[in-house]
């Protein structure tokens, strides 16, 4: 049932990439528990605008949990404390009346802050550009049913492909590693016959790009899997390691 609660927000404000940031406290009264976390921030921003203050910048777009644009480190968890949930799908009914909520941007050397809660995740695109694809041009491909793929394999590839590229795995990792993100793509492609041809090469170039861009190493803490809004399994990291090693042996 809908009700209203009062919360205190401690939100990271930072004017620009090089500016010094700080936490600013805002009181929010009468927040509908049916509203989403981002809708609550919309209401706060409307209040700030009324007071002729600058609204808080944060990334968001589809608000359906699929585009991966929203971020936010809420009370120490990327996308908040709910499992398998993006920030846009987190609802205020998950918070208690009178609670203090701390909101920070993703913290990672590879994701510099642009403003307030907005970060630059362009590094993820660069990793995909390095090799996160099957090298086919438009046209001249075989019939869709020419290569049967077992349902089990297709489903597993689909699970890996569910990654929304939000960066929660990096934000959750004490090393700031992007292994789960890279593994999800490498694994999806390595499982499918279409992607198998380039599998080892792909693992090698994507991992090299990841290292170059300042992401940390994986020490198997499993924090990424626990915080991933799409529940991508770390078993994909094992597959990435296999592909990576086989590539190295071939060298």
């Amino acid at each position: 049932m809908e009700k209203n609660i009062n919360v205190t927000l401690k939100i990271w404000r930072q004017a620009g990439p090089k500016a010094k940031g700080e936490f600013v406290t805002y009181k929010m009264d009468n927040v509908s528990t049916d509203s989403s976390f981002l809708e609550m921030l919309d209401v706060l921003n409307e209040k700030l605008i009324k007071q002729r203050k600058e609204p808080i910048a944060f990334d968001h777009d589809c608000r359906e949990g699929i585009c991966g644009m929203c971020s936010l480190y809420i009370n120490g968890h990327p996308h908040g404390m709910d499992g398998e949930t993006t920030t846009c799908q987190l609802h205020m009914r998950r918070f208690k009346d009178g609670e203090t909520i701390t909101v920070e941007p993703w913290r990672s050397a590879a994701f510099p802050v642009i403003k307030d809660l907005m970060v630059d995740r362009g590094a993820f695109d660069k990793i995909i550009q390095a090799g996160g694809y099957v090298s086919v041009n438009t046209g001249g491909v075989p019939d869709g049913n020419a290569i049967p793929i077992s349902k089990v394999v297709a489903d597993e590839a689909m699970d890996a492909a569910s990654c929304i590229g939000c960066g929660a795995c990096v934000a959750a990792c004490k090393n700031g590693s992007a292994m789960l993100f890279v593994a999800a793509k490498v694994s999806q492609m390595a499982l499918l016959p279409q992607g198998k041809v380039e599998a080892s090469h792909r693992a090698k170039v994507m991992v090299a790009k990841m290292d170059e861009l300042g992401f940390g190493n994986c020490t198997n803490t499993g924090a990424c899997e626990a915080e991933c809004p799409k529940a991508i399994s770390i078993s994909h990291i094992a597959r990435l390691n296999r592909e990576f090693l086989s590539a190295k042996f071939k060298d």
């Binding site: 589809c62 608000r63 699929i66 403003k115 086919v136 049967p148 569910s162």
Partner: protein
């Protein structure tokens, strides 16, 4: 026999879609056989701007770069992978006939034309159906993990408006997987340096030199800097304008500004009134609401839609005294199955949406607002078991649970129609070229293939058809004549003028310093649109809407408040620029809806309906695409007509009953 409509003559020329001669099934092959091509050495010297990175934009940018053109690709989000195509859930149609259930290119073409209520162009739709099969092959080759049968072959499901199973899907995330496929192809070209990507950039104008599109003005959303870009041709795939309604299923940044910019530079805006209201969305729940969430139409495969048969029961449910599960089978009205025995719960979207509105308006609606109907899975769960339903719709059920806090395995979902897709858009000819030379428009942003209503799983098909298989051919027919044109300086007067105009508009908005937030004005516009230009439209209401939109425009330009400065990251300024254009689109929609004195597809004029409440077309007078030509700010636009000649299909009243 209806009389033949004539297309309007503009400056001595008819509106000419330039449809190739010949039998329907041979037009596209003939076109390709005779079109002009650009040789590889010349391709390198030609620049193409592609605005947008959704299914249409990303597939076009990737394919053009593969061919050897030099591509500049603009993306409003931080990454091309976030374009709103990603949110499409249900699937993509193709005429593969893998199920051996009688599908064919012709049947897909026919269903699409009929679904669009005979207001689309035959030749374009036939081409769409023709290339649909190539899309599936392409996506499979890219590694898109489509759902498969145990034997390893591709699985299909059925969708509204069709009696065959031709929809390919990847769980409830088909749009995501297709977009990531296009994104991977695009990323490959970016990695090679063939595409230069500009992310967090927003197009603010198109630059026209000597009657040809030669570039764009775009704002870097991080620095606030306004920049100029040249290209030999400009392709816009900027999506639809559903957010005119404020509340829609579109993403927050989805907007119609690129369309308005093209319109103001001479491109016709066609059929603006054709907006699709999707029947299965989560109902509005509060004033703070920022957007509406769609539940895939695929749910109608197994879900049954109903409201209580008796008003007392509906009232008791609204008051919280009864639960839907308290009502026995005979106390429920499965109104779609009752009204449309042949298609039942799988009628097209416009029909399902209007039927829901009809029941709610009559007092049978549920939920605390009375603006909701049930989508019930109990029969399907009984028949197939909870696990099968979970496998098919698990992520959708979970999403519903998160938003509404109710478990759809135990109690029926509540749904209500919401604005979802816009069939109208920038007018394009057969080559996807607008009425401005060198300016092309693809995907949802154009008007071309869906007529007055789009069938489910056809948007993904059209976006990818345009980007992978149509534009990369047709644009060459234009560019073949441009190979002698050298790259132009962005210091030409036309570029400087366009940039100045953009600056002037931004500064005008910044200086207002009024007392209303951008969102508050946008909400007002949305409410007017929903109430008067929504599911049921009539003359008096539309005239009222036009008056009210004028007031909103005045309010915007005198009272809006945008904090901060223009030369920096400024989200409120971005929104303000978009809302200024939504107001223009809202007016065009109302104007178009008022002009079109008939009901067709998503456009329902209450004055024009059959005795049993179905849309009543008037082919005699309205068998045309309405093309609005801009005449200057504050001036009335001119209506031009592209006659829709049905040479190959016999038009009839759509019938989903028998």
């Amino acid at each position: 026999m209806t009389k033949k409509q004539e297309s309007t003559a503009v400056e001595g020329n008819k509106i000419d879609a330039r449809i190739p001669e010949g039998p329907l099934a041979e037009k596209w092959s003939n076109y390709k056989a005779h079109q002009k091509l650009v040789n590889p050495a010349n391709k390198r010297r030609l620049d193409i701007i592609v605005v947008g990175t959704g299914l249409a934009g990303a597939s076009a940018a990737a394919s053009l770069a593969e061919l050897g053109f030099n591509v500049l690709n603009f993306c409003i989000q931080d990454s091309p992978r976030r374009a709103h195509s990603i949110a499409a859930q249900g699937g993509i149609n193709a005429a593969k006939n893998y199920q051996n259930d009688g599908d064919s290119v012709y049947r897909l073409f026919y269903d699409t034309i009929k679904g669009g209520d005979y207001r689309a162009r035959e030749a374009n739709v036939y081409r769409l159906a023709e290339v649909s099969n190539n899309i599936i092959d392409q996506c499979v080759a890219q590694g898109v993990p489509f759902a498969r049968e145990y034997g390893g072959l591709l699985d299909n499901r059925s969708f509204g408006g069709a009696q065959v199973s031709r929809t390919f899907y990847a769980k409830g995330q088909t749009g995501q997987q297709l977009l990531l496929g296009a994104y991977s192809a695009l990323s490959r070209q970016i990695g090679k340096g063939a595409v230069k990507l500009y992310s967090r950039y927003e197009m603010l104008d198109v630059v026209v030199i000597d009657g040809r599109a030669r570039g764009i003005i775009a704002r870097n959303l991080v620095t606030g800097k306004v920049e100029r870009f040249f290209a030999h041709a400009v392709v816009v795939g900027s999506g639809g304008y559903g957010n005119t309604f404020f509340l829609s299923t579109n993403a927050m940044a989805s907007n119609g500004s690129a369309a308005i910019q093209m319109y103001k530079k001479g491109a016709y805006f066609a059929n603006p009134a054709y907006a699709q209201i999707h029947p299965t969305c989560i109902p509005v729940h509060g004033e703070f609401q920022s957007k509406l969430t769609l539940m895939s139409e695929s749910l109608r495969n197994d879900g049954r839609i109903w409201v209580p048969k008796k008003k007392e029961d509906a009232e008791a449910i609204r008051a919280g005294k009864k639960k839907p599960t308290d009502l026995k089978e005979e106390e429920r009205d499965y109104y779609l199955e009752r009204r449309y025995p042949a298609f039942g719960n799988l009628v097209p979207r416009d029909v399902a949406s209007r039927a829901a509105k009809e029941r709610c308006d009559a007092g049978f609606g549920v939920g605390n607002t009375g603006l909701a109907v049930y989508l019930d899975f109990s029969t399907a769960i009984e028949r197939l078991g909870e696990n099968t339903i979970r496998a098919r719709y698990g992520n959708l059920f979970q999403m519903y649970d998160k938003i509404v806090d109710e478990n759809p395995y135990k109690t029926p979902m509540m749904i209500y129609p919401a604005i979802h897709y816009t069939m109208g858009g920038i007018w394009v000819d057969y080559e996807l070229q607008t009425s401005v030379k060198g300016l092309f428009c693809i995907g949802e942003a154009n008007f071309s293939d869906h007529g007055a209503n789009r069938l489910g799983a056809s948007a993904l098909m059209q976006g990818l058809a345009d980007g992978y298989f149509v534009l990369p051919y047709t644009i060459q027919n234009y560019l073949a004549d441009q190979i002698q044109v050298p790259r132009m300086s962005t210091d030409l007067p036309e570029f400087i003028e366009a940039e100045k105009a953009v600056h002037a508009k931004i500064e005008k908005i910044m200086k207002i310093q009024g007392d209303k937030s951008v969102d508050s004005i946008h909400r007002e516009l949305g409410l007017i649109m929903w109430n008067f230009v929504g599911m049921g439209r009539n003359k008096a209401g539309l005239e009222q809407a036009l008056e009210k939109i004028k007031e909103v425009r005045h309010e915007f330009w005198t009272r809006v408040y945008v904090p901060g400065v223009s030369g920096d990251l400024n989200v409120e300024l971005e929104k303000a620029l978009r809302v200024a254009d939504f107001i223009e689109i809202g007016e065009l929609m109302a104007r178009d809806a008022l002009m079109r004195e008939e009901s067709c597809g998503g456009h329902f004029r209450e004055e024009y309906q059959t005795p049993d409440g179905e849309a009543l077309r008037n082919d005699e007078e309205f068998s045309f695409a309405s093309c609005w030509k801009f005449n200057g700010d504050g001036e009335e636009p001119t209506l031009l007509k592209e006659a829709l000649d049905y040479e190959f299909i016999h038009r009839q009243q759509r019938n989903y009953k028998a």
